[in-house]
Amino acid sequence: MTLFDRVFGGNDAVYGLTEGAIDGAIAQYGEDKAVSFPNTAYSLPCYYAVTGTKVTTLKELKEALGVVKTLMTREKRLNDAFMSGVATALCAEFIEVLKYIDGATPYEEPCYGHLADAVIRELGVPLVTGDIPGVAVILGAAPTTEEGVALVKSYQAQGILVTLVGGIIDQVAEAGMKTGANVRVIPLGKDVTAVIHVVSVALRAALIFGNVKPGDAGTLMKYTMDRVPAFVNAFKPLDDVIVACGAGAIALGFPVVTNETENIFRVPKSLIVQEDVSKFNATSLEARDIKIKITNIDIPVAFASAFEGEIIRRKDMQVEFDGSRVDCAELVQTCDASEIEDHKITVVGPEVDDMELGSKNSIAYVVKVAGKNMQADFEPVIERKFHNYINCIEGVYHTGQRDMQRIRISIEAFNAGFKIKHIGEVLYASVKNEFDAVVDKCEVVIYTDPAECTRIRHEVAIPTFDKRDERLDTLTDESVDVYYSCILCQAFSPSHVCVVTPERLGLCGAVSWLDAKATHQLDPNGPCQIITKERPIDENLGSYEDVDEAVQKFSQGALEHVTLYSIMQDPMTSCGCFECICGIEPFSNGVVIANREYAGMTPLGMTFPEMASMTGGGVQTPGFMGHGKHFISSKKFMKAEGGIERIVWMPKELKEFVAERLNKTAQELYGIENFTDMIGDETVAEDPETLVAFLTEKGHPALGMDPMM
């Protein structure tokens, strides 16, 4: 037998039963007898939602059954199976509605049967907000009462709404567990057809919350698939009817997890066999992509930003870990979901208890993450937050990063019961909460065994860091498909838009292309948006139609054109956060750069604040541009005007700060050694005449270049 046979068979069986039941009812009551569910404005909600037709009498019900029959096509195609599943569900609704004839109350405590519209409106809000992260439909009897109850409780603890159909209801009752809408465990009914009452909830939610038009079955199914986080747990044995119902669930986007192994056909992400009932929860959540918010971090000390600035002094310290003396490392590793057990925290090596008071130890923690949207580029972004997370622990202090971190745990925290594993708890919870858009699963391994730390540091961490640095070095504007906008500063500089590219970080110096990319992924409606670069106008200037359109949009029309590589033609605007400003120095045919910290005069005859006053505020001032310090050594620095060769003057401090990288770029681009020696500073000149004399003496290349204006 194939899965198709089972679905079709189950469907036919239910259809037959339904037809019989309706005919029987007509015989008993006459075909004008009214049929309805109580307390709903949606007639027979499932049938109404799918077809847009309201059924009010037995006669109409019979006609509706004819419509259902048309869904029951028998080609062995996936769609036929799905539609037969839907048909089975609709038949179930018909059978159920017959139970309510003459205002009967077919369901008794603890079973609910049909749920009123009011309940759906009430449950719908927490469903939309994610306060109810999912809806579990448990069908049949668990292998044992204990297993069944444990499963229900596991969902309940996660805030998931649990609906029960069949044998599980008795099991839960037997265990004395409280049920009801208020505790979010709702027994529907013992017949398998009672499952329709939860389907009815999902479909009415689509009508009420999704504004789906009744009869628009395509949109309906898309809504339940995208927005109703329901799934089915069906216990063995599964008969054909249940399999047919399951097909209906799958059609709505609800995966089915079962422990049945006989005569079953696995469908990835949809029909999943999980023999171990204790793993139903994890399997279901993963299949339906449900993430549980962590509201409480289970550690014996407080966790709050108020502790961020706490410093643990030596005398108050229980133990410390010091990357500058012994092997340490902190690392985020992207793994495949199958390699990770969510929320597993492992400590390899001694715990704090085993360490001597005041001792210096090794530590290396590897936070393994997996997620459909996770990219290796986000690893350093997540990693950089470790400092902040660990510092927020009361009595724990963290500085540094990569393999140079230092951590201290205070005596007080130790006495309160703080352990190494709690660092893992904090990292787990913080990463899951803050990066939930990209991290689906997270596991933490903390090594305190010195040999293991050495291995992790040298064989895992350092090679990873090297690889990342290499990627950063090779990441060029040409090597990526998109740039990002950043409008974080618009609050005080309304028309400013930063275009962040790999070789040009935000002018505040704080937002790199990778940061912007991660920000976009984590907050798709946030300040960083994708800018495509498919329609170049002039590659040398770095002007693109796409970029122009983006800056027009994000500046609300205040800006029309921006070039990425020119300071003379439509230079990028500045908000006022810039680390540095470069400005054209006409007498030497080059540019002067001043950094924010520099208080003196420049050869332009302007100080940094004077230059800032004409460059900031989102205005374009040809000849002047704000930028970050690291941009100075970029190969894209005013590339259109000839690049870094144009730099004729910088404050001494800034020059020293950028010297190594700048000289390297000059070497690569022009073969000039020690380029910074040719660049003036305040000790050489603060006026153009002296500067030109100096440049002439040094043979600065800018003097011989094409005029800038």
């Binding site: 409106r121 009430e122 809000v125 939309v128 907000t129 999704g210 618009q490 309304p494 409606n525 029309g557």
Partner: protein, 313 residues
């Protein structure tokens, strides 16, 4: 040679949103020009005025306001008197008492107040939460539920609780969603984007872009409104075309200029008069910058702003 008049025509317009049900409704927005620029385009819907009342009764109000409400003891009576003020278009009930750091009234208690007020008046109703995001996330859905059929405007959903309030008010119970952000065009837009992504109809959203009393960082309010209207009309940005409501009184009656007693500041003169002028001037500035509705407290302020709106219509 006469003056060459160049009207500024926009192809886009602000959404017109109707609040209330039955015979008594008000419509705000709908304009396709800057505020009061009747020389560019005729006024679509004049700006509207709401009268603020609070579940805390009259205790926190100034003497002049108390004098007006004299004799009103129940919330129903207070609401009726508020609705009767000359120039009032709607009543805005603020559930201040829900603030966990203040009176911390239970949700049940507050819902009773909402029911009492809703039952006492038939004019359009705006209900504002207690401003605590967690409490409002529980409170406002309940308010939305008991006001089914009233087509009330609920203030405010914020970035932190937009799902609960947006879903309840905008989806489950068919009210108007008031989206509040903190005086920043991008935050305002982002909130509208996520609210509509929730499924809420963009035409059922009214923005509160944040406010301030004159002199208290008011420049941010001006520029945010200027930019929002500019983007909504000039750039046809449909995520900024929601009309703007500004709760003026809550800000203006809290600043020193309005609260300082005459005993403390004898040279400043009548406290009530200071409160009125602070309220009137801030409201007038809000309207000139782009508010489509303002919420005021003092009957004299309501009357004055109503005159101003009529004079400029």
């Amino acid at each position: 040679m006469p003056f060459n008049q160049k009207p500024q025509k926009f192809n886009a317009k602000i959404n017109a949103v109707t609040i209330g049900s039955g015979d008594k409704t008000v419509t705000i927005g709908g304009e396709n020009s800057f505020p009061f620029y009747t020389f560019d385009a005729p006024t679509e819907n004049t700006a509207k005025i709401g009268v603020e009342i609070s579940d805390l009764g009259l205790d926190e109000f100034s003497e002049g306001v108390k004098a007006y409400y004299e004799g009103a003891t129940t919330m129903a009576e207070i609401a009726q008197k508020a609705a009767a003020i000359e120039g009032a278009d709607f009543v805005a009930l603020i559930l201040d008492g829900g603030d966990p750091n203040g009176a911390n009234k239970s949700i049940e208690e507050l819902i009773e107040v909402v029911k009492e007020v809703a039952g006492a008046i038939d004019c359009p109703l705006v209900v504002e939460g207690c401003k605590n995001v967690e409490k409002d996330a529980e409170l406002l859905p309940k308010v939305a539920e008991v006001l089914q059929g009233r087509n009330a405007l609920l203030l405010s959903e914020k970035e932190e609780n937009y799902k609960a309030i947006g879903a309840a008010a905008g989806l489950a119970y068919n009210q108007i969603v008031g989206a509040e952000s903190a005086v920043d065009i991008n935050l305002a837009k982002q909130l509208n984007v996520v609210t509509t992504q929730l499924g809420v109809d963009a035409k059922k959203i009214v923005m509160n872009i944040g406010s301030a009393a004159a002199g208290y960082g008011y420049e941010y309010v001006v520029s945010t409104m200027d930019r929002i209207k500019g983007a909504a009309l000039g750039q046809s940005d449909n995520m900024l075309q929601m009309p703007i409501i500004t709760p003026v009184s809550a800000e203006t009656w809290a600043v020193k200029e309005a609260t300082a007693s005459e005993a403390d500041m004898p040279e400043w003169g009548s406290a009530d008069e200071r409160g009125i002028d602070m309220e009137v001037m801030t409201a007038a500035a809000d309207l000139a910058a782009g508010s489509d509705a303002v919420i005021l407290r003092h009957p004299e302020s309501v009357k004055t702003i109503s005159k101003l709106i009529k004079a400029l219509a």
